[in-house]
Each structure stands twice: as C-alpha cells, then as structure tokens.
Symmetry: C2
C-alpha cells in the first residue's frame, strides 16, 4: 500500500481499509475521503484528527461511546472488532484471573456511571496492570478532563491502527 494507491481509491475501497481507524466510526473515514489526495500517512491521520476536533462535545462523547469496554461484554461474547480483539489480547486482557476480571469490571462500571462514556485507553501502549492503575487514577478526574483524555487515547489507537497497515 502506498499513498498513490490510497489516493486512487474510490470511497468504498477507502472505507473498507480505513473505516475502523476510529472504532465503529466509518463516518469519519467516509468524511475525510473528501480531503484526498493525501501526501503521507501523517497527512491522512491529521485529517482524521482535525475531523474529530471539529465535532461538537456530544460528537466526541459519541466517539468514546462507540468503544467497547476493556475485557467487557463484547470480548466475552466474541463480538469485538478484529482490531479491538487484537489490541485487548496484546495487553493481556484476554487472559485475566477472575479477580482481575472482577476488579476491572467493577471500576469500568463506576467510570461509566460517573462520565457517561467508557474508559478508553490505547491498550497496545499499556498492559493489564498499567491499565487498571490508569483506570483507578482517571476515575478521579473531572468530566471535561476525561473527555479530553479519552479523545487523546482514541488518537493514539488510530495512529497505531494506521501504522499497522502494511505500507
């Protein structure tokens, strides 16, 4: 894959490839197809980030709400996206002890109740103990700070998903 190939894609091919760069938000890839041609992957990534930043607060909250819980119902039922399955697996979240599992779910529930969106963290840049530590710390934050933190993590996840494509 190179940028020349990307720039010559019709929007269907583009969405097939980048539609999950932001979890379950094909709308975002579909939107930034309008911004082609892209000079580099960074240029494409910047278009995604600018689109996210252009959304009203409800839209940013909506992006977070499209993310699965870590070690949550989608992982249990096997309905995670392929990207999330791989990321949660790498962080050790698919092999938790029962105690770790219960602790994570308990803290996740508290987090969602407080903020109205799930705890989002770039699993690939963390491991299960770091994730639980961050969750316990971030739950203390104010809502605006956590919205900001969550969106920053969405961007890190997006960056690594784009890097993960064989360029």
């Amino acid at each position: 894959m190179n940028m020349k190939a990307v720039n010559s894609m019709n929007y269907e091919e583009f969405i097939d490839l980048f539609g999950n760069a932001v979890e379950k938000c094909p709308l975002i890839a579909a939107a930034i197809w309008s911004k082609r041609p892209f000079t580099t992957v960074v240029d494409l990534e910047t278009s995604i980030f600018e689109f996210i930043d252009s959304l009203p607060q409800t839209g940013k909250e909506g992006i977070l709400r499209c993310h699965p819980d870590l070690a949550g119902r989608e992982l249990q039922s096997g309905t995670l996206t392929a990207d999330s399955q791989q990321e949660q697996g790498q962080a050790g979240l698919t092999s938790l002890s029962q105690e770790e599992q219960e602790k994570l779910q308990h803290q996740n529930s508290r987090y969602k109740l407080k903020f109205g969106f799930p705890f989002v963290i770039c699993a690939r840049l963390n491991n299960k103990s770091k994730i639980l530590q961050e969750l316990t710390a971030r739950i203390q934050n104010q809502p605006q700070q956590e919205l900001h933190n969550g969106i920053e993590e969405v961007k890190k996840i997006c960056h690594l998903r784009l890097q993960n494509i064989h360029w």
Copy 2:
C-alpha cells in the same frame, strides 16, 4: 417502548436500539444520548437532525457514503443492514429484471462518479420506477444541491426507522 424507558437506558442499550437510525452511523445515536431526557420521539428525532446539521460538509458527505447503493453490491452479497434490506425489498429493488438492474447500476455509477457519494433516496416512499426516474433527474443537479437532497432523504429514512420501532 415509551420515552420513559428510552430515557432510562444506558448508552449501550440506546445505541443497540437507535444505532442504525442513520445507516451505519452509530456515532450519531451515541452522540445524542447526551441530550436525554427526550420528551417525545419527535424531540429525539430533532436531536439527530440537529447533530447532522452541525457537521461540516465533509461529515454530511461521509453520512451519504455510509449508505449502500440501491440494488448494489451489498444487496447482491447479502451484507445489507436489516433496515436497508427491508426498505429496498419494499421498494421492489430485490426483484428487478436484468434490464432494470443494469440500468440502475449504470446510472448509480455515473451518479457516484459525478458527486463522490451514492444516490440516497427514501426507498419506502418510492418504488423502483420512481427511484430510477429520480436518479435520472437528480444526476443533472449541482453537487451542493445533491448534498442537500441526499441529507434530506437521510432524514426521511431516519424518520421512518424511528416510526418503525414499536412505541
């Protein structure tokens, strides 16, 4: 289903129910959950429409690009969403003659090439001959007019999907 039940839903339940009110854009339902409580279905619908209207032009184009072609590849391969399958079936698009099929695909391709998004029309309010007639007429429009027309059709589809829920 009544508004009291809707207003007491957590965001996961809400997205499960309304996530496809706008085709393949769960982000929109996820965003407007922030606007609850809703007094009526119309109030909920208004929140969806206001969110759509708040998007930059690329976002509106993105919404259109998340829609399948009428009688297109997703219908052929059985990968339409349940909503779209039902809507295209009711309009007679699942039982086209080969000639009708070819004509529709040809005009659809021309439309997409001209505008960079698919022809979107509320299939439930039309039938196959009306749809082909509209496609042939609308392909003559200017891009800004067609973006506007497409988004108006998205809102009609959304309205009928909300009405289709057993309230």
